[in-house]
Symmetry: C2
Subunit: 69 residues, 2 copies
């Protein structure tokens, strides 16, 4: 489950800890999402988007073909 959260987070100059606090979630949750080891909920995806000023598609879209691999 790859995504662009890490890049976007760094662009707005936040640490995992800061992003987590801003959203009201644990640092571990952010870490695991960035590593692609979690399948986050839509609500959490949206909160991440708001925090880093990106859209769902920008952060989480995966083409159908690559999603199979």
């Amino acid at each position: 489950m790859e995504n662009n959260v890490k890049i976007a987070r760094i662009q707005v100059d936040l640490t995992q800890q800061q992003l987590a606090e801003k959203i009201g979630v644990t640092r571990q949750t952010i870490s695991l999402i960035e590593k692609g080891k979690y399948n986050p909920s839509l609500k959490l995806c949206l909160e991440i988007c708001y925090a880093v000023n990106k859209s769902l598609d920008e952060l989480f879209w995966i083409d159908q073909e690559e999603s199979k691999t």
Copy 2:
């Protein structure tokens, strides 16, 4: 948790049942998501997108302000 799943599903002429089968999920899950009573996982959101040929933003985006209400 509003979304545009129902509209998109009807546009591609699928019943909840057919969409559910296409994705490999229960009809009830589709029903509850359309009704805004579930907070679906990113993976499921993507599978719905693929099935109805829409993007995450098209189906699931909610502006930050309206997400608070």
